[in-house]
């Protein structure tokens, strides 16, 4: 877990390499582990703390270390410019710690509620749930719902590649023996999230920011958080709720929390000019989100966001089966996740607070020292998937797909989720059909879930169209 925390924190310090990319890079190495508790400790530890350390770059150089720290820049960087970087950093670490602990508490408190609900479900309900998960992530993870849905469908199609064990049919393998086993999840994850981020980082080469001074107010920042405890609590609730909803990642949580702070706090004129409340709101919510994220991931096998989709990929690969088992026979693994979230947050905050000054220097590593080792690590990781030279070809194909998806505004998370959930989705659909024929479609819970699915698809589209019409009239004017 400490290794996970250190890697997660290091990734946070380095601008441009986000949590999902690192999780993707680590997948091939994690899959060689036999003990599921080790996998949980490493990956959940890494995932839990990425947002804590990413405050460094957001505050000091105005580049978000992760997508969850974008709103931190709005007040954190002006504070650094005013000579209060230390105050902003300490406030962000303490807010992250308390937000992270709140998220773990929410996950723990949700278990008694989820258990009877999950145990009452059978294959038809689980099929609709997996469909709902992919659709929600597709619709909400970008600003193009149709593209998101298409990406999810493409992901499920990719999951069907290989020899079908039910019928013995070769599916989309084009007589290539390498494809009989299907497409490795690691290669999809590395291609979609590893290489495109590296390309982005390499493209920034001329724009390495100037360092701001460490400044003053380190202790004051800690007290600031306790002084604004009510704001922290509210924004942590927002974070945990956003995490619980599939498809809304930390990049949404911090903006929602920041917007809430600006709308509800008194004396708002300082927001955006270096108000510590902006830092507290953003950082508290993005860490609380992690606990909320694991609720649908563990209970239904539907990840709350991109990072948990990657963690889920590793869980499935090492034999951990998210779903009802996580609340019954494998409850110890669920508690391992909760405790990892708690301990990882404490360790990461301690590391960041104790070594804040030396860590600030790491933020300014030039791109040429970061890009080549990461590329090497990605290629090694891809080759380690099957130790076959075709692994590298598959990596390059998915890298091209990921690059173009990013370039043309296609969300990549639904595609990965489609690949992760595709096999389960197909199994649940087939079981529902063989057990109940078409009668499963009129089961009460299935009808409720279908209604929710339709509402969740239509509602964002309607909202999006409503928002577009005033924009258009404004543009025409």
């Amino acid at each position: 877990m400490c290794l996970g925390v250190l890697i997660g924190s290091l990734v946070g310090f380095l601008p441009g390499i986000g949590g999902p990319s690192t999780l993707a890079i680590m997948l091939p190495f994690v899959m060689t582990m036999q003990d599921p508790l080790l996998v949980i400790a490493l990956l959940v530890g890494m995932d839990a703390v990425g947002n804590t350390a990413s405050a460094f770059t957001s505050i000091l150089i105005s580049v978000p270390g992760s997508s969850g720290s974008q709103a931190t820049i709005l007040d954190g960087h002006p504070m650094a410019k005013n000579g209060e970087a230390a105050r902003a950093l300490s406030a962000s670490f303490v807010a992250s710690l308390l937000g992270g602990l709140f998220g773990a508490l929410v996950l723990f408190a949700s278990l008694p509620v989820l258990r009877p609900l999950v145990l009452s479900f059978s294959s038809p309900e689980f099929f609709i749930l997996t469909l709902w998960g992919v659709s929600m992530v597709g619709i909400l993870s970008g600003n193009a719902p149709v593209k998101g849905l298409l990406a999810g469908i493409l992901g499920v199609m990719i999951a069907t590649v290989g020899l079908d064990t039910k019928s013995g049919i070769e599916r989309f393998s084009f007589n290539v023996a390498y494809l009989w086993e299907g497409v490795d999840l690691v290669l999809v994850a590395l291609g979609l999230f590893g290489i495109p981020e590296v390309i982005d980082l390499a493209g920034r080469k001329g724009s390495i920011a100037k360092a701001e001074e460490f400044g003053r107010g380190y202790v004051q920042g800690i007290f600031d958080v306790f002084r604004h405890w009510w704001l922290l609590l509210r924004t942590s609730i927002i974070g945990a709720w956003v995490g619980f909803l599939p498809g809304l990642g930390s990049s949404v949580a911090d903006w929602f929390a920041y917007a809430h702070a600006v709308q509800t706090e008194k004396n708002r004129e300082n927001f955006g000019k270096g108000d510590v409340r902006g830092v507290i709101a953003s950082e508290g919510s993005n860490n609380a989100k992690e606990g909320g994220d694991y609720i649908p991931t563990l209970a239904f096998g539907i990840p709350g966001g991109t990072s948990t989709a990657l963690v889920l990929t590793a869980f499935v690969a090492v034999g951990i089966k998210p779903g009802p088992d996580m609340l019954t026979s494998q409850l110890n693994l669920t508690f391992a996740v909760i405790w990892t979230l708690v301990i990882a947050n404490v360790v990461a905050t301690a590391v960041c607070m104790l070594f804040a000054k030396p860590i600030t220097r790491v933020c300014f590593l030039p791109f040429y020292a970061i890009v080549p080792p990461i590329v090497a690590f990605i290629f090694i990781g891809a080759f380690a998937a099957n130790f076959h030279s075709y692994d590298l070809t598959a990596l390059m194909i998915f890298s091209l797909l990921g690059f173009f998806m990013r370039r043309y505004g296609w969300p990549r998370a639904p595609l990965l989720l489609g690949v992760v959930l595709g096999e389960k989705m197909e199994l649940y659909l087939w079981l529902s059909y063989t057990r109940y024929g078409f009668e499963w479609l009129v089961r009460p819970m299935v009808l409720i879930l279908i209604a929710l699915l339709i509402i969740s698809i239509i509602y964002p589209v309607v909202i999006s169209r409503k928002q577009k019409s005033p924009d258009r009239s404004l543009a025409e004017a």
């Binding site: 978000p64 997508s67 993870s141 970008g142 600003n143 149709v146 298409l150 469908i153 493409l154 499920v156 199609m157 069907t160 079908d164 039910k166 019928s167 049919i169 599916r171 989309f172 290489i195 590296v198 390309i199 982005d200 390499a202 493209g203 920034r204 080469k205 001329g206 724009s207 809304l248 990049s251 903006w255 030039p366 040429y368 020292a369 080549p372 080792p373 590329v375 090497a376 290629f379 090694i380 080759f383 380690a384 130790f387 076959h388 030279s389 590298l392 390059m396 173009f404 990013r406 370039r407 043309y408 505004g409 296609w410 197909e426 659909l429 087939w430 924009d471 258009r472 404004l474 543009a475």
Partner: protein, 157 residues
């Protein structure tokens, strides 16, 4: 701007064609193997058609667009004349380099050349390359005993 719109339409068409081809191939399979492909593929083809119409409309509409907040971090516009083509050349070079001279030589060489090419010091480049080689040798050769695929220039390893 027009070029980007054409690229966008081409990419959507590409995705649509993939799903359509999958649907066409799956229609000959038994139902237990094709059920999910037929169900989702049919929806996919309709969605691809809708997206294509949306892309064409967006390309034709010449009114100024208003920037709205989005929760997806947008890809950066790369600096320099060649943009992201430069890093792609490096990546494909590494890919072919691995096939040509093998991973244990190509990876450290790539790390060294990239670092040096963009202005890194000799010591930085050598340390990073040595670290990469050390990782490959230590973990893959000594611990995992990985049989490296034979490179095209096999006499080098």
């Amino acid at each position: 701007m027009k070029v980007r719109a054409i690229e966008r339409i081409s990419f959507t068409s590409f995705i649509g064609v993939i799903i359509l081809t999958a649907l066409f191939v799956a229609k000959d399979w038994p139902i237990r193997a094709s059920i999910i492909v037929l169900l989702l593929g049919s929806v996919g083809v309709i969605l691809a058609a809708i997206q294509l119409i949306l892309d064409c409309k967006a390309a034709r509409r010449e009114v100024a667009t208003i920037a709205r907040p989005t929760f997806e971090v947008a890809a950066l516009e790369h600096e320099g004349r060649w943009g992201s083509l430069e890093i792609w050349v490096w990546l494909w070079g590494l890919f072919f380099g691995i096939h040509l001279i093998g991973m244990p030589i190509a990876l450290p060489l790539f790390v060294f050349l990239y670092t040096k090419f963009y202005g890194g010091r000799w010591t930085t480049a050598l340390i990073l390359a040595a670290g990469t080689w050390g990782f490959l040798y230590g973990v893959f050769e000594q611990v995992l005993h990985v049989p490296w695929p034979k490179p095209w220039l096999g006499f080098l390893v």
